[in-house]
Symmetry: C2
Subunit: 398 residues, 2 copies
């Protein structure tokens, strides 16, 4: 995810560094990595990625990595045994897992998941142990621009979903209303926009309630780890712009999906509908579903998963994730009437593009295709591996 805070990465399976290098994302600009759970297909690419980032380093601040307890030990062991020295510092902040997250069979298999905090890797800085609050929410990050909260997801091992909330931006100062009061704009306008009542030199007071429009809500993105029950996201996920949710197997295979700790498109879409999500992006497809291309019949592809989710979410609110798919999330308008913005967003306003570098797009490894949505043509670029979920958040106006 790109925002004005940098490039953030969510999960890092094997081969992520290879795909990253083919993409327009600059490895050296990745400044935060979030790992949803410790299954290999979500973290085995991390040590290699750190090496790649090290070779393209543009950071002065440490790289921050967030994930469940055990992640620090995995990273440190991998870097130490491979004698890897990085060109930057890193910090691993771990989420303390709740007892209810640990299935009995995992509880029985005792492992060492902590590490010696007296002997860090030479590039490591001491990270935090983040505990859940009384609502079972882990606050990973919170500043005046953005916050990231995590909730737990039911899976075969402890798994998390991340909710990224952009801060609201101040409403627009209505110059015509100032003019009606016979006041000319001045440096004090900034304070009024920020919500403070200002007294002018002539004694008049300017109340933001009179001259400033409603604040523009920030955008909200939810990116989930593997799960067969994501209901905890209801605590923080209402009205998100985008929900990235796994849909491993089709609805008719729900029993198998549940047994493996996974979801169907129907399950993902029910969550999306309940939360009034504007765009549901399905991901983590079983290998039995091929990427959409001319080579395969539609019913062999992930299209059938998208269709199943569309039956619940509506036709313009569901996409299948693909490597290099880039989605631009539009800034939210200031609300006119409560809830009205829900219907103003649909697939057509989420600009899709390819994050694949042009020199890779030109070579024969990449199959291009054109999807039609609402009469508009959006060019997507896909490779055979369907797993990436990079989202782009438009820069808010400064």
């Amino acid at each position: 995810m790109h925002s004005n805070d940098g490039s953030w990465m969510f999960d890092c399976g094997e081969g992520s560094q290879i795909q990253l290098q083919k993409s327009k994302v600059r490895a050296g600009k990745v400044n935060k990595i979030f790992i949803s759970h410790l299954h290999g297909d979500h973290m085995f690419g991390l040590p290699g990625l750190l090496c790649t980032i090290s070779g393209n380093n543009q950071r002065s601040e440490p790289l921050e990595i967030f994930g469940p307890v055990g992640l620090r030990r995995f990273i440190r062991t991998s870097l130490e045994l491979s004698r890897t020295m990085l060109g930057f510092s890193y910090i691993v902040h771990e989420m303390k897992v709740l007892p209810c997250q640990i299935p009995p069979e995992v509880q029985k298999w005792k492992i060492e998941d902590s590490c010696n905090e007296q002997r860090l890797h030479p590039n490591e800085r001491k990270g935090c142990l983040i505990e859940a609050d009384s609502d079972n929410v882990w606050t990973l990050l919170s500043n005046d621009k953005i916050s990231v909260k995590a909730v737990y997801l039911k899976h075969r091992i402890p798994s998390f979903g991340f909710c990224i909330q952009e801060a609201a931006s101040p409403g627009k100062l209505d110059l015509s209303k100032l003019s009606l009061q016979g006041v000319k704009p001045g440096p004090w306008c900034k304070e009024v926009k920020e919500g403070r009542i200002v007294t002018l030199p002539d004694g008049r007071t300017i109340d933001p309630a009179d001259v400033v429009g409603p604040p523009k809500p920030g955008r909200k993105v939810i990116i989930m780890g593997d799960t067969c029950n994501s209901s905890e996201i209801y605590t923080v996920g209402m009205d998100a712009d985008v929900l990235v949710h796994e849909a491993t197997l089709q609805n008719s295979l729900k029993d198998m999906a549940l047994e493996k700790g996974h979801s169907t498109p129907g399950m993902a879409a029910e969550v999306g509908k309940d939360l009034r999500i504007r765009l549901l992006v399905l991901t983590h497809f079983s290998q039995r579903y091929m990427p959409v291309s001319d080579e395969y019949e539609e019913e062999e592809t992930v299209s059938i998963l998208v269709k199943e989710a569309q039956e619940i979410m509506g036709p313009n609110r569901v996409l299948a994730a693909e490597d290099f798919l880039s989605i631009t999330i539009p800034l939210r308008p200031a609300p006119q009437t409560e809830g009205s913005e829900v219907n103003e967003h649909n697939l057509a306003v989420f600009k899709q593009s390819s994050a694949l570098k042009e020199d890779h797009a030109e070579n024969s490894q990449v199959k291009k295709k054109v999807l039609k949505h609402n009469g508009e043509e959006n060019e997507l670029t896909s490779t055979e591996e369907v797993k990436a979920k990079r989202l782009k958040v438009e820069e808010p106006p400064s």
Copy 2:
């Protein structure tokens, strides 16, 4: 490497499982893995590969993994933290590193490289600690069909080269010579072929020296880890059929290569020439050298590395490794006169083919090219990543 002992893999960088699945090699048939050293590009793919093998498991015997001390800890930590249960057992045999292998900067950075031998992973069986003998040779495996010995290589961290020696097969029984003695073949022939003098029921003795030709020497393959000085291989590597040696940078960049612990084509070829190697396969190329294809000028590609080695080894004795390149090593003829077989082998007798699965070869990801050697056309298949070094040993006649 395929032999009648199964499929063996040498080193396992990130993404190896993905390439393996595109190849004709069946993941479930891999029964031994050798790791030359613990740098990430040689081992970070191992945990993921084990998961892939687990899903395609066809083994009853444990998978054996050989590598330097520290490998067991890396594998166990990765599998434990990701809560990976495999569908088979595995054993890690570690090579005890000699003090002379550890550069001072590595010695200073103390890490934990052993693990608790009382608490194995549930799929793990207890492995050995293999020590070097007085010639600085580690014997990893030795039976009546094949042996694997390792020697140390100078590199930035402890690194090893592997010498795989097929056992000699018995010479041919000369039936015409038996006939001259008026003897008809019988079940005792097997004993004679194996070198024992046999007394027939009528009291006559048959001496193998009279009726059995010279034994056919077994083939020998050397696969080296990263190195800037591979002279220890001289102990065991004489007259090998194939030497896989790294050649990271061209001859003019030798100083840079040495500084990074790597070799040039010239260095690799000098070793190849000294050891009277029949085929030198260069590998581990810097990313600055592109794979050979129509897209690049020849001087931008690994061709320049091959040429530099050819200047020393001769034009028909050097190849560049590529993903999916498969080389069939011809059986050795019984020696007629000492040393004569050296000249009987050249590039033309090493059959090259592609180990890429046909469904992958057909899609647009694969660029095909035809190389000419000695007037013969050999079709190779390459992808953009140049790193694999799978060798195929022809099945010896039973």
